[in-house]
């Protein structure tokens, strides 16, 4: 996984709350293979009209936000289904960091597992960032070491679980980490058979 230390890019304001994973990628696109790329499906039904034409009033379609890699949005981003495709859609579109006051739990961990940073800010700071972007600011820098987002004259702190920060900074994949505990896992499974003889499915 690509490590995330510091990133500078175009930030797009998305002043909506509760963007759920069904919005991030509607279910009908989830049959496609990842190899085809999920970027075109990101927020599909908000970005495009019934004819498949871009909605001009949708922020990601504004010409000055083309190529955006940072999304600034409102609370409860990524609630709902566990579809990791929601994170794939963001990443394949080119998003590296989503800034919001709160995130769906499963979405946030899926993001981290794919190198996408869910940066949690206070409601007030989120509104200040949105206002700055809507007022014409375009670029932002996200510094994961310092846990700071810089945008124009604003310096906004953000939060992230320490474990997730470490994972992102190092680009760690859990599986490699887990492999180093193989002996502990085997010992657990062996002693568990004694502790919980009823655990295993009683295959008919």
């Amino acid at each position: 996984m690509q490590p995330f230390t510091q990133h500078t890019g175009i930030a797009c304001p998305l002043p909506l709350s509760g963007i759920d994973t069904d919005q991030l990628i509607p279910a009908r696109f989830m049959k496609r293979s990842r190899a085809e790329g999920y970027g075109d499906y990101l927020l599909h039904d908000l970005r495009f009209d019934g004819n498949g034409d871009p909605r001009e009033d949708f922020p990601l379609n504004h010409s000055d936000r083309r190529g955006a890699s940072i999304l600034v949005t409102r609370r409860n981003f990524g609630g709902g289904s566990s579809r990791e495709a929601a994170a794939y859609a963001l990443i394949d579109y080119g998003i590296r960091c989503v800034v919001a006051p709160s995130f769906g739990d499963i979405f946030a961990s899926n993001s981290v597992n794919n190198g996408l940073l869910p940066a949690r800010v206070s409601e007030e700071d989120g509104e200040r960032l949105l206002a700055a972007l809507q007022g014409g600011e375009r670029d932002a820098t996200v510094d994961l070491n310092a846990k700071i987002i810089r945008c124009g004259s604003l310096d906004v702190p953000f939060d992230i679980e320490p474990v997730w920060r470490t994972k992102l900074l190092n680009g760690w994949d859990d599986i490699d980490l887990t492999k180093s505990y193989t002996a502990a896992i085997q010992a657990f499974a062996a002693s568990d058979q004694e502790r919980r003889p009823w655990m295993k499915p009683n295959r008919a």
Partner: protein
């Protein structure tokens, strides 16, 4: 073992502690996973497995289930959309290759994963259970720690039978008192979500407690735990009691004989210690709960059926007012309109939230001898529920009322199999998500209990089912 052993512990703590393999100082815990359920959406995870040329670590603890994409009207997959068929065939290829038991379309136990696990006795108290589906919290009704995971985590569990997790905080939702006639777990859940918000339990493991919960059937507890994620909670649990044990005895995959009795004793000991401390406490008065419906595009946009659609101009919080305005415009509703004046186009009775035998009975009790004035689909949660309902003659009630009685699957909960609500249409639905487009692009969803959906089918508009119950009395 975890450091918290010895102090008063909650139900959640006890199950968590029993599964910690490694506890790192940074808060990362490696948990042992007892059950892993897979469905057609698991292909991303199998692709990751293939990329690493890895095997499934514990095929005996891993089960496939065909539910998300399965057709509900024909069962021959040669006759369905090739893209959907490919999803089912991919799961079959993956479970066959790794020698996993799969409840496929031809299995007499097939159904929705969160219905099948409990009724097969695969779900047991004290287990850790994961599935690439956010409603995995459902299994917490048995006092299991069950939660939804993403594809990377599914791949990790497949390869190692473990998962890295940070410990969530604990929340207790206490519900006391007797429910009024016709009020069910769905109404409790929607009231709870409306009270704490769609992200109110984010970061928490929920325990449902109190006299109301003790008096709920397993079906009711399953509905309640199922909806934990709609309040943002990744898991929701109920302490095992005699209701739990009576339900499990004799289930196909449950332990037998002495092993069962040993299990039962262990399970009853899982209840939270009397002096255990929760990070957050919420309480609800069951006697005040009325039938609830949602009017908006988030599960916390919920109100008692006796009330009116909210008016954004009278909401002081600007963010909330904006959400309400957007939601009403998407839903095609007027501020201040009576909820009971909202006309509907169709009904759906099904999904892992409300498709168990009790749900089917409750809907049938309203529809018996009546006609539906709108079209609708009734999809029992599993082949076993379907069989039981047919033995009781409930299928005839739905068919005589003019509704379609179809095969089990996720169906119109998510529309992946092609069972969709057409754009602009309004559906009274027993499902769990009223998100924009959830039941199909442009679809409008109102969530409610099975009896409320049945009442809406009869009148063609949102209806207080108590009126239809009264006519019967």
């Amino acid at each position: 073992m975890s450091a918290s052993v010895g102090r008063p512990r909650t139900l959640f703590d006890k199950v968590w502690d029993a599964h910690v393999i490694v506890e790192r100082e940074d808060g990362h815990n490696l948990l042992w996973i007892d059950r892993h359920f897979l469905h057609e959406g698991s292909f991303h995870a199998f692709d990751k497995l293939k990329a690493r040329e890895a095997e499934v670590a514990r095929p005996d603890l891993t089960f496939g289930i065909e539910d998300h994409y399965v057709p509900t009207r024909v069962r021959n997959i040669a006759q369905i959309d090739p893209a959907i068929r490919r999803m089912i065939e991919q799961l079959r290829a993956n479970t066959t290759q790794h020698n996993l038991k799969s409840f496929d379309l031809n299995d007499p136990g097939q159904g929705i994963v969160h219905v099948v696990g409990p009724e097969q006795g695969l779900t047991l108290p004290g287990l850790t259970i994961v599935c690439g589906d956010s409603h995995t919290a459902t299994h917490g009704a048995f006092g299991a720690l069950a939660f939804g995971i993403g594809a990377s985590e599914v791949a990790h569990v497949l390869m190692t039978q473990t998962l890295w997790q940070k410990k969530p905080k604990r929340m207790r939702i206490s519900i006391e008192g007797a429910l009024s006639a016709g009020i069910v777990a769905k109404d409790i859940a929607l009231s709870m979500i409306a009270k704490i918000g769609a992200d109110g339990a984010a970061g928490y493991a929920i325990e449902y407690a109190g006299s109301t919960i003790r008096n709920l059937s397993m079906e009711g507890r399953l509905t309640l735990c199922n909806l934990s994620i709609e309040a943002g909670g990744r898991s929701g649990m109920v302490a095992p009691d005699e209701t739990t044990i009576a339900y499990l005895r004799g289930r196909p995959y449950a332990p037998k004989g002495d092993a069962f009795e040993r299990g039962a004793a262990d399970w009853l000991a899982l209840a939270s210690d009397a002096d255990a401390v929760f990070d957050k406490e919420v309480s609800l008065d069951a006697t005040q709960i009325a039938p609830i419906v949602t009017w908006g595009t988030s599960p916390d946009d919920a109100l008692p059926i006796t009330q009116d659609v909210p008016d954004p101009d009278r909401i002081s919080d600007p963010g909330r007012a904006e959400h309400v305005r957007d939601a009403l415009s998407y839903m095609g509703l007027q501020p201040g309109q009576k909820l009971t004046d909202i006309r509907i186009d169709r009904v759906f009775i099904g999904s892992c939230t409300n498709s168990r035998i009790e749900d089917i009975r409750a809907a049938a009790a309203i529809l018996a001898g009546r006609k539906a004035s709108v079209p609708g689909l009734v999809s029992p949660g599993s082949m076993l529920v379907k069989q039981q309902a047919e033995q009781e003659g409930l299928d005839r009630i739905f068919k005589e009322a003019g509704l379609e009685w179809v095969e089990p699957g996720c169906s119109m909960c998510v529309g992946m199999n092609g069972d969709l609500v057409p754009p602009g249409e309004r559906c009274a639905s027993t499902t769990n998500r009223n998100f924009r487009g959830r039941q199909g692009p442009g679809s409008r969803t109102h969530l409610m209990s099975p009896a409320m959906a049945a009442a809406a089918a009869v009148t063609g508009q949102l209806t207080d089912m108590r009126a239809l119950l009264k006519e019967r009395a």
